[in-house]
Symmetry: D2
Subunit: 428 residues, 4 copies
């Protein structure tokens, strides 16, 4: 399977390189004046890894509509192909996170080989008990892991166990559990009994976890349930993770919080209690909008990475959260959105790495509020584009990924080959 031609990327890079060299050179010089070695930052970026969701290369939608585009992938093989193009160009997205039963295949070993031939591996597997799969025996209409009927709970547990087995075959090391369970009406369910049932079901899944796996619990304030959600916030999530055991950790999705909540502090709290397991990156203005990372509030993304860098400094040996992009690409070419988002995320990380930690600590110690703030702001203000681009280039990627992608005409040529997908409301 051929992706984008390496020659094309090379030629494109050749055009971009002189300007990049100039900008990188001046930035290195300017940062050196402040005592920062830009190469250290670049080295960290070279080690940074971000999973892609298999469903993220398809066009997403809302409950109102989905607007398909010509050439979008319509089955898993095509999805992997698109993921491979993303990784080919940006070099920090080497693994794909599958969603079952959406991505279910009869021969996971073959799938793994296929992915490897595209330069890809597999990341955390995602179970799905928020929809009814075709042929499913019992419905999740009224819940899954927390359903009042033990048979439904057992079915949902079984599905999660199967996801683990599939994940093992694919080389995954984590199971992400997000459930939509909750209520639309006061009185619909017992708020406390539902949580008890969650703990019971989750413990059954946890018991089947391979010893080198993590179980990532993902909370969300609301949607698809609109009055209450069983695992609605980090408080519920961490208490459940503590109950389950050391392999259970919490996963933070940036769009799953109440309005105006300080998410970076939640990051700090979860790490403080040893339960920061992973991240789903996206952005939002209103609810769980699943917009491109950093497109709405890039400063918040920086502040989150500021806490992640702090956490890594405090726990250098153990801190290894699972990072994934989790977005709904409703009106862009998904590959372009993934490339743009990977850039935004890497940029936020680069800025966080530029923070003068010694100065910051000193200003915090002396309560020099203004200089504490300015220490962060100074790093945030830096245009890190050259650093991110240089790291990418040196890893074999494209200096200007979207430019190279467009020049390659990938989507147009796929529009010739791939079958047409249908509209309808979007499932993301």
């Amino acid at each position: 399977m051929t992706l984008i031609s390496a020659d094309l990327v090379q030629t494109h890079n050749d055009q971009c390189l002189p300007a990049l060299n100039e900008d990188y050179g001046h930035l290195a010089h300017s940062l050196k004046r402040r005592g920062i070695d830009v190469d250290v930052v670049k080295k960290h970026l070279a080690r940074f890894e971000l999973a892609q969701p298999s469903w993220g290369v398809g066009v997403g939608g809302t409950r109102f509509a989905r607007f398909p585009i010509a050439g979008e992938p319509t089955h898993l093989e095509e999805k992997l192909e698109d993921c491979a193009v993303v990784h080919q160009l940006c070099r920090i997205t080497p693994r794909v996170s599958p969603h079952f039963p959406w991505d279910k295949v009869s021969d996971p070993r073959a799938l793994r080989d296929q992915a490897e031939s595209l330069g890809l591996g597999f990341d955390a597997v995602n179970s799905n008990t928020f929809q009814d799969a075709a042929g499913q025996k019992l419905s999740y209409r009224h819940g899954s892991l927390t359903h009042s009927n033990p048979a439904v709970r057992a079915q949902a547990v079984e599905h999660n166990v199967e996801c683990i087995r599939l994940g093992e075959a694919l080389g995954s090391k984590a199971l992400t559990v997000w459930i939509g369970d909750g209520t639309n009406f006061p009185g619909q369910q017992s708020l406390s009994a539902s949580f008890d049932r969650y703990l019971e079901s989750a413990a059954q899944i946890y018991a089947t976890l391979p010893s080198d796996w993590k179980m990532l619990l993902e909370h969300k304030l609301y949607e698809p349930a609109f009055y209450s959600t069983v695992i609605s916030d980090w408080g519920s999530s961490i208490l459940a993770a503590q109950q389950l055991g050391p392999q259970a950790q919490c996963l933070v999705d940036l769009g799953h919080h109440a309005p105006s909540v300080n998410i970076e502090q939640i990051v700090a709290r979860l790490h403080r209690f040893g339960k920061l397991g992973g991240f789903h990156f996206n952005d939002s203005k209103y609810g769980d909008d699943d917009l491109d990372s950093g497109s709405i509030n890039p400063h918040q993304l920086f502040l989150v990475f500021n806490e992640l860098v702090e956490a890594a400094l405090r726990s250098p040996d153990t801190f290894a959260p699972a990072y994934m992009i989790d977005q709904s690409h409703n009106i862009t070419d998904p590959i372009e959105s993934l490339l743009s988002s990977a850039e935004a995320i890497a940029g936020a990380y680069a800025r966080a790495l530029l923070v003068d930690r010694g100065a910051l600590q000193q200003h915090q110690q002396t309560n020099d509020v203004m200089l504490g703030f300015q220490t962060l702001r100074r790093a945030y203000n830096v245009d890190v584009t050259p650093i991110v681009a240089m790291a990418r280039y040196e890893q074999g990627g494209a200096i200007d990924p979207i430019g190279a992608y467009r020049q390659a005409g990938w989507r147009t040529s796929k529009a010739q080959e791939r079958r047409v997908s249908t509209g309808g409301a979007g499932i993301v």
Copy 2:
């Protein structure tokens, strides 16, 4: 076409009547002590009318899933049947609001006759340019009435004009225009040019409006667009309505506002400027949750009706807003939700009618804050169930609509007759 057996309803009522008579009698006595004539309230309730949305009798869903139920309607004829059952039992929902092209029929006259035979008429027609219909020439992926391409705008205008023509055949008197147009990214569109294009397109629709019609503009803060929405708030809506002319009015959907906004004051403002055209009733806790009216915040619903009663007193001759239920019934039997919501809405209206307006005005004049508040609270605290039930009973409905509906076994019997609907993500 037979609905629920009148005998069954009668028998059910006979069982409920003694208790109702007792409760109504005591309430009448107790209110008389306060100087209130309960029969006046009952008379107002008897005149109260609420439209049903044709799509509201189907099971709704979220972008994640839709969980169909056995016996739900799968085409317009069945939808009308279910609407007729709702009206048969609650007696305040005599008209159905159709949505095109969802409800498009080749012979609208025949449809009108069919509805009439079920005891139903038609209310405001709803256009749909937030989805691409099968066979549609140009896509609304990037907007409709505000699209940058004049050909798309023309197509969207044309669809609205067709809706008016269909509505005329059905006996409607209003067109409701809600568009999803907006953006997901800063920079995607010009925020000002989009609004200009809206005004231009809306003026073209307005120009084709029959002289006894209203054009209802519906605003919404977000969804399906997640960064900006062209008609996002009542400010945008009223300025557009003023520009268009006297037949253009604003429609308030209770779930389309920013968090914590005082909606009852928006009602007062719109009426103050002569632009309060109608209401979409539902309830919500987070976003546009489209939950059953009054299920989450019944007090807010009361405060809205308090303003509506005030508006009617200030403009007794002209105040005639179009009321409609607009909910997404994801996990209940839609007929039950409509019955429950009609009850909640009528109850909020009844409570607002119980407010001692003279006392209220006096306390407001003298800034007796506590007694001003208590004057509203006293009315809100009244259990108006007997008044609403008696009004319904006297209009030929069921004292206990959900009880009667269940006893009739409507859904079970329809599950035998109607074909099975499919799951997938919900469209509401």
Copy 3:
């Protein structure tokens, strides 16, 4: 010290009693039809107790202004007098919660005697390290229990220890710790180090706690800190309480949460983990508005009590949360607001007691969503005014507390006796 004349209350009650008897009688009859014994509800109400905050009888304000009223209390003795009037009339507010150093006296024993002579006891003591007291050595400008300077932390700890000592002399059994510590700027402080310092300081206070005392940790999303707050949510609060030990519990203030958060579920979670220690009742529409309980969202108050009743049923022997009104009475006579709020809180409790728990459980078990909801709604719709009034009357209070209070002319007569208080911004 004489409060309101018992004769006046008696005469007032005599006028109200006939109507009350009628309404109570019919309600008892009507509820009996549903299988509910109203006397059982009344008995629960008779045992219900709610603390008054000493500062709540003064007129509150905002950062913009405070508008004093004639006759408001200007020192502790007068505050106790007003609290005694509140309790005299409503009979469910027998204890006062003092705030130090605001309420500091040289002889706490004498204060206790004085309170007892007014029929009052003392509830949880509140420490104050969010302001600088006159003559205080080190400033809390940059924090108190979490300050980067150990000397400031030690001073704040010492103040809390002193509060416990004062509380012991007054007969209190709990210390409520709310701190304003947090930041206004990203970078101002380490989000993780601040929390570590909180735990360290709190542990020092905890160590001095008498064995029959509770330490109540109160979280708040924001204000006075506007970027981050150390104990910002129930997650931070419960993790701290767990770390501290069994006497540490969480206190929920209804206005201290992010917008649209489901507070009743937080109640369920805290109880599930044995950490629901107490409540501060008030209401709000936007932020921590500190409005009168139930004035904005009475249904939410009911849903909270629904969880409290459930919790009491699950843990009949141990469940004993500390209930307190915590409001800022900016534009009403504080005594009237306290009377009105006590009524609203007791009413929410009464409604929650009316819920048919057996039916609720059954509907939840079978996922009968509509009837589960209706079971709560049916209880909520009951006008419980007669039950609350009858319980109050039988305890020796006023049937119509605000009516009796106004007739007594308390504030007018105090306006003659008490010195004038000053305006300025309000401290609440």
Copy 4:
């Protein structure tokens, strides 16, 4: 009166200049590659002007506390002195916005001369009817311009008229009217009558406006009123401004909106209808937090300036909004916060000027969503620090204003001279 020594600033600049020249030079080179002339941007910055609020140089507080600092100004003369220092160092804040009666003086002419000698002029005057001034006849406890008592309204109107007279003497050209009028309880006031009274009172003020003045109406969602606010949103504001006449315009304060509202679109709407009169800059995370501009959401500030630049391009001859910083400096040296904020605001403006408008328009026309977004993002990513610093330097200011200010020891020396201010709750 001497401010900071010009020699000190010069020496400080001499140290900073070499690095600035390097960075500015490279940025000019790099931007030229993109077709942007940095000098044009710099020229726009040199013309940019921002008013300082007289109260902003004092230490602010919350309703809980105010923590004074040594050397803060305690009367108007000292405030002007501090404002002059701000302008001396940043060069874009040449005018002070006074607040009456806070800044009331017996001889406004003398005040104007004094300000001029410090290099300062006066901007819009602010009336204050949200507090009771000492000796005021009638209280604003229950409202001012909207009070139910005509005598209170007349007093409030009279105060505004006096503000205009004072403003004329000071050389102002605008009156900013912000009122706290609203309610804390449903039922407290008629929502519609309050608005009618507002219009009536405002018209009386408007009638006395000099012909070259503007009247700026400032809306705010909530606080100090917590249930409803008469002028709560831009909809109410613009309808009032339209009613009043062409000299009435709307003023946008960034912190006065409902959560998650798209403020940049409100800017576009107000300009579309010719009513964008001015701005109060600050930042916020929760409510009206009045934090330093750009400290929380610098991207939003950029997007607002993006609309302002667009507005200026559409109306080059008439667009002249009044810009002011309006912040509460609770825990920083106010002069440092003003310097930092002026930098952030100028930086946001500079970034908006860097947007390639031609490309943006083209991408919007063709619905190239990704490149439309990237066009804005590319400008936002630029580190504009060198441009802003160079513009400031060339206007005679400090390259590093906070650095120079600290080196000058201004606050320490003022702490010797000025009397100590008192704590208490803050008034901002």
